[in-house]
């Protein structure tokens, strides 16, 4: 039996930034979603045959994601403000972007070092202070939790 706690990664009204991690394959994938299914819903889409995580991982390693047996997902709820939860994604993209670039700057110093395999797209919202503050807190949390992931 496998027990996976997912109740804190979807609630029909929140938006999230999430991070998939496999230390075994030294890969990190950063994404964002405001979909009804939250991070769980996106996870399903990611592992489908044409899912973006599957495709990015295959591009990076030439193997399917199943070859890594230690995938973990870190979920970071975004503020429940319309600019984060609405259909316009520029604020979510901005947080996602800053988390990706932040990880890129430090990835060589992590153990193990890793690749950021998600596609990165800059958003003009990146310079807004609240966006930067959210990204900074996510990066701090990742820095704290990364060594504890086994």
């Amino acid at each position: 039996m496998i027990v996976t706690r997912v109740a804190n990664s979807f609630d029909y009204e929140s938006a999230y930034v999430y991070v998939w991690i496999t230390k075994e394959r030294k890969s990190v994938y950063v994404g964002q979603t405001s979909g009804d299914g939250g991070v769980v819903g996106r996870a399903g889409a990611h592992v489908k045959s044409n899912g973006t995580l599957r495709e990015r991982f295959y591009e990076a390693y030439g193997e399917q994601i199943e070859c890594a047996e230690d995938w973990y997902i870190l979920t970071f709820p975004l503020p429940k403000k319309k600019k984060y939860t609405g259909p316009e994604s520029s604020y979510r993209n901005a947080v996602e972007y800053l988390v990706q670039t932040g990880l890129n700057e430090v990835r060589g110093s992590y153990v193990p070092p890793f690749r950021v395999i998600s596609n990165i797209c800059y958003s003009d919202r990146c310079s807004e202070p609240d966006v930067r503050a959210i990204a900074k807190s996510i990066l701090s949390a990742i820095e704290e939790v990364f060594p504890t992931i086994k």
Partner: protein, 575 residues
């Protein structure tokens, strides 16, 4: 298993080595590498002509190239190792600029057939010569006595009895570049190639003229101007796009390849045409802004190895990137993963490094391009050609009428009630903008009250000029496309969220379409004024109207986002 020794033909190999693409300036720069690596504090480059009476512009008139340095110098063993092909790489330290032990020979023979090395480590000068014309099946050098000319050079430049002279003579005469061509290139390029060394005290002199360090990023000016704000840059200053930051480019090699990456935005030359004739050209020349100079300048061990590198399209060929200057600082650990070549003038990124740099550059490129376009828009604005200026010129007389077309006339009491409602709306708008200014301060870690200027600037997006009514602002609450606005200076106006997906499609993707932008801006101004007219209308419930119209604006804004995001339709520009 048995092995069979294979022969080699020195003459043909040396010929091949001399044809790997050196120009006189790149060959000389490669030899200067040896001087710098060997601790020279002074390097003297002399380009001597065959016929001194002929102009410097004359081709095929070089007698010899001399590179003289006061570095540690070499004894017999050292000189012979330097002349060997593929000298043992282990002699090179981590900080060395050398790589394969081929640079001196390939650089020298690319320009002439004779290479002379005269050197002393303090025990007296020794001279060895390789003459390609004598090389056939054997590779060898000859030990020779110093000539009077050699002794004079030593007296003039190396009076302390230590250092090295490299002379390249028997210069190829097949369309060999003129002295002027090489001198001009060297004056410009050596300052860039050895920027860090010259800055740190190494003196390089070319035909008696000292070479100044040339910082292609103009970081000193960037320090004064600070970080680039692409939304309000006027094109007149150098600004930081990315201050120096250590980045991991490749984790597959051991150790991982780290690089320091920094990027600046240089000025926008067309803006300076507003200052008078010749100013645009002056700026272009000062910052060397042009097709061959934008991109990344890659340094290995602080020596430039790649000039304005665009990494196979990573920085696109596009005039809007002319002000983009990046610098990547690598050390020797990048040599193998990045395939740095013999003449140290080119590198090929590993796939992972290319991807990492591509990810990093996404932001830099967008900022640079947006800033360039903004500067162009500011210039247009100064000339009265910018769409928002045209919209505002038209809007200047479009005040919200006291009486809407087709509405019944109001009696004095009703007029008073309408005025009261208007005042209430004005207060709400003012309070909302003040709250947003406070939130912006709080997000930046400042809990103080916003100043009146801050509030006004947030409301109008920093726009100057009291006559304006249409403001392109960076954000609107809940990411709506537009909202009505009022302040005493501007009257009833509209704020347009230029970061909204639809606005970006309109203002950026269709930046050349002035007419469309003007029409949409005027339409949104009228929408905003119509909203106020309804909210103040005494025949309607003010709170209900406010709620309905806000929801309406939200729905329109969201539907427009979805429309722009659809991949199955094509929006303008259609051409």
């Amino acid at each position: 298993m048995s092995t069979v020794n294979l022969g080699w033909n020195p003459k043909r190999v040396l010929f091949g080595l001399s044809r790997i693409g050196y120009t006189p300036h790149s060959a000389i720069a490669d030899i200067v590498d040896n001087s710098v690596t060997n601790g020279a504090k002074n390097v003297f480059i002399k380009i001597q002509k065959v016929r001194e009476d002929l102009s410097d512009s004359r081709k095929n008139n070089i007698k010899d190239y001399l590179i003289i340095d006061d570095g540690v110098g070499m004894d017999d063993e050292g000189i012979l190792a330097a002349l060997e092909l593929g000298s043992d790489q282990l002699q090179y330290g981590d900080e060395s600029l050398s790589k394969f032990g081929l640079g001196l020979k390939s650089a020298a023979f690319s320009q002439g057939s004779m290479l002379e090395v005269i050197s002393s480590s303090g025990e007296g000068f020794l001279k060895y010569v390789v003459d390609l014309d004598s090389i056939d099946s054997q590779y060898f050098c000859e030990k020779k006595d110093l000539t009077d000319d050699d002794k004079k050079i030593i007296d003039d430049y190396l009076s302390e009895g230590r250092g090295t002279i490299v002379r390249i003579s028997k210069i190829h005469t097949n369309n060999h570049p003129s002295p002027k061509n090489t001198i001009d290139e060297l004056l410009y390029r050596l300052g860039t190639i050895y920027y860090y060394f010259i800055r740190d005290g190494v003196r390089i002199e070319l035909n008696g003229e000292g070479i100044e360090p040339y910082d292609v990023l103009f970081t000193g000016e960037a320090e004064e101007a600070g970080n680039l704000n692409e939304h309000d840059w006027d094109g007149r200053s150098v600004a930081w796009i990315k201050k120096p930051t250590s980045q991991t480019l490749d984790i597959d090699s051991s150790p991982a390849v780290q690089a320091v990456v920094e990027v600046t935005q240089l000025p926008h030359p067309p803006t300076f045409s507003l200052d008078g004739e010749g100013e645009q050209e002056r700026i272009r020349k000062k910052y060397k802004i042009g097709a061959g100079n934008y991109g990344f300048y890659v340094y290995r061990n602080k020596r430039l190895i790649s000039w304005a590198e665009r990494f196979d399209g990573l920085i696109p060929q596009d005039q809007d990137f002319y002000a983009f200057r990046g610098r990547i600082l690598l050390d020797s650990s990048a040599d193998n993963p990045f395939n740095i070549d013999v003449k140290k003038s080119h590198l090929v990124l590993s796939e992972e490094a290319w991807n990492a740099l591509s990810d990093l550059s996404d932001e830099y490129k967008r900022k640079s391009k947006k800033a360039w376009q903004h500067a162009a828009a500011v210039k247009k604005q100064m000339l009265g050609e910018e769409p928002n200026t045209i919209s505002n010129d038209i809007a200047a007389i479009l005040d919200l009428p006291d009486h809407m077309p087709g509405a019944p006339l109001l009696d004095p009491d009703e007029e008073k009630e309408q005025e009261r409602r208007e005042d209430e709306i004005k207060s709400k708008i003012k309070e909302k903008i003040r709250r947003e200014a406070q939130e912006a301060r709080a997000a930046a870690g400042d809990s103080g009250e916003p100043t009146e200027d801050e509030v006004a600037s947030l409301g109008t997006g920093g726009a100057e000029g009291k006559y304006k009514k249409i403001f392109r602002v960076s954000a609107i609450e809940d990411n709506l496309l537009w909202e009505p606005y009022f302040d005493d200076d501007h009257g009833w106006s509209v704020r347009i969220n230029r970061g909204h997906r639809y606005a970006r499609c309109l203002f950026e993707d269709n930046s050349e379409n002035t007419d469309m932008q003007v029409m949409v801006e005027l339409f949104l101004l009228q929408c905003a004024q119509a909203e106020i007219a309804l909210r103040r209308s005494i025949s309607l419930d003010s709170a209900d109207v406010e709620e309905v119209i806000r929801s309406y604006r939200e729905s329109v804004s969201n539907l427009l986002v979805q429309m722009v995001r659809r991949s199955d339709i094509q929006l303008p520009p259609l051409g």
